[in-house]
């Protein structure tokens, strides 16, 4: 277990965590402001990945494809909000869970009809392939490094928008008292649609960034969705800061667990028992973490005293 390997896995964990944050941010934003539990958030992740892959193929330009994919996901998100979800804000969480569960079924089939059931592989332009040199002769893929940079930039941008701009002020005001800002003459419906679209675009961005690392396939958003839920439960629902810290934490734990737990277990257990236990245990780690957090602090680590 060399230090270069540990460092590389740390970067991988950071990359995964940043990607998870983009998912969790949209989810927690929508929950904090509209009080909506949106299971279909994973579908938006999938839609983003498919749209970007298709647009890249169509235009032949990766960046253009990503931009079109983002715009497309934004539009799809806003359309879903206007047609289906708007009426759900006043309902209880159970109704929201079921209705958005229905949306997942719908989106999965829609994608199957448009693109078929076989997975797509998205290719990278030459300038994103290859490796950059790190210290001591170790290297790291350019693409993953780019994901980390873009993710951190988006996180910073999100922080800036929410805390420093008029739109962010309205978002925060909408979260604390929706009647009041409606009474002050703000178009709350439009604001909600915008916020939902923003969350959708973030999920779509996460999907298209993860696409070259994994494959683009139906149901790809579902596992990520569960992880995003775990993250916002750990971080405290409605808190963007909590979502960020929890996402990085979960990304690191999951990646490091999968990378090093088998070796660690082999030192304690027999090699046969270790190779049986390690995969199960490393995929359980995050849920164990969540259980511990909930036992110690049922409201999450950073409960939303409003971002």
């Amino acid at each position: 277990m060399s230090w270069a390997l540990v460092f590389e896995q740390l970067l991988n964990g950071l990359q995964y965590g940043v990607m998870l944050f983009l998912m969790a941010a949209g989810l927690t934003l929508v929950f904090g402001i509209m009080n909506l539990v949106n299971l279909a958030h994973g579908s938006l992740y999938m839609v983003g990945a498919y749209l970007a892959a298709a647009a890249t193929q169509w235009t032949g330009n990766y960046l253009l494809g990503v931009a079109l994919g983002l715009a497309g996901t934004l539009v799809v998100g806003m359309a879903v909000e206007v047609t289906a979800l708007r009426t759900l804000y006043e309902r209880d969480h159970l109704d929201q869970v079921l209705a958005t569960f229905g949306l997942i079924l719908f989106f999965n089939e829609l994608i199957a009809i448009v693109w078929g059931r076989a997975p797509l592989y998205s290719s990278l332009p030459p300038w994103l392939q290859g490796h950059i040199k790190l210290f001591a002769g170790s290297t790291y893929p350019v693409y993953r490094a780019a994901v980390i940079v873009v993710g951190l930039l988006v996180a910073a941008l999100l922080w800036y928008v929410v805390t420093r701009t008029r739109l962010g002020m309205l978002i925060r005001a909408g979260a604390s008292n929706r009647e009041m800002i409606g009474a002050l003459g703000i178009n709350i419906k439009l604001l909600y649609t915008l916020v939902f679209g923003l969350g959708a675009a973030l999920a779509g961005l996460a999907g298209m960034m993860q696409a070259p690392i994994l494959t683009v396939q139906i149901g790809m958003g579902e596992n990520i969705l569960i992880l995003a839920f775990v993250i916002i439960v750990i971080g405290g629902i409605g808190s963007i800061r909590g979502a960020f810290l929890a996402a990085i934490f979960v990304g690191l734990i999951d990646t490091l667990g999968r990378a090093f737990l088998p070796d660690l277990l082999r030192k304690i257990l027999s090699s046969a028992a270790a190779s049986t236990a390690a995969p199960a245990l490393s995929s359980m780690l995050i849920y164990l973490l969540m259980a511990i957090v909930l036992v110690v602090r049922p409201e999450g680590l950073f409960p939303a005293n409003r971002r």
């Binding site: 759900l88 159970l94 209705a99 569960f101 229905g102 989106f107 089939e109 995969p279 849920y287 049922p298």
Partner: protein
Amino acid sequence: MIASLNARNSIAALVVAGLLLLPLYTSISGNVFVLTLFTRIVIFALAAASLNLIMGYGGMMSFGHAAYLGIGGYAVGILSSEGIGSGFIQWPVALLASALFALVIGALSLRTRGVYFIMITLAFAQMAYYVASGLAPYGGDDGLTIYKRSDFGGLINLSNRVQFYYLCLGCLFGGIYLIWRIVNSRFGMVVQGLRSNEQRMQAIGFPAKRYRLVCFVIAGTMCGLAGALLANNTDFVSPAVMYWTRSGDLMVMVILGGMGSLFGPVLGTIVYLLLEEALSQVTEYWALIMGPLLLLIVLFGRGGIMGLLGRLSRG
């Protein structure tokens, strides 16, 4: 609860009679497929009924109920692959394992409220799913084939379709009877009281968490039984039975039928699975219709089928 002849009760009676007489129909018509379909429906109805106990009566919105289907199933499957074929051992182990799992995750999850509870139960079920996927000696992702159904000596032969159907039906009716007794007992009243006003119940002096936990464990155990039945029905158990969309299916069945009504989940399961079957005959893309249909039911169909029947009989 005095039974009166209104739309709800007559539909429930019709369904019970229909389910009881179904093997008669299949033996006359020779249509075996209907019997296998309904065996599946009856098993899922038991699972949905157990979910209804905590969701409808207890107000605990568990999104991880399918975990017990898997645990009950894996108990049967693992014991069977280890050469222990007797149902007298397999089934109690299945029930015990489900009860234990419910006890542990209930004790942790019930510390939380509302949407946190929905998500933590979901996450625990996913955890069970991943554990099952990692069980390499017992099939891992691919699942575990059960070569021989549970052996109950000369008492009942599970490989006989009709006998197995009646066993499942017996379990379903037994489960519903049990729920009926629980709901109308003092214990059940306390649990329902906790659903409507927790603070008041605590002020009277009831330990809220303990009552909820017991209710949670009863429901989990009952669903574990459904899991044991399901594994015997398909001769197979795989992590897929615990996947979170399964838990979603179970919730939909309960809501569709009518939460907090005794026979609602049974009706909901029948309608949901028959609809799924019918739509998949029409088109490969049945979920494209099912999804929006679900959305519409949630948006406009308050109280599910039972609620609708209730409104009908009131005029």
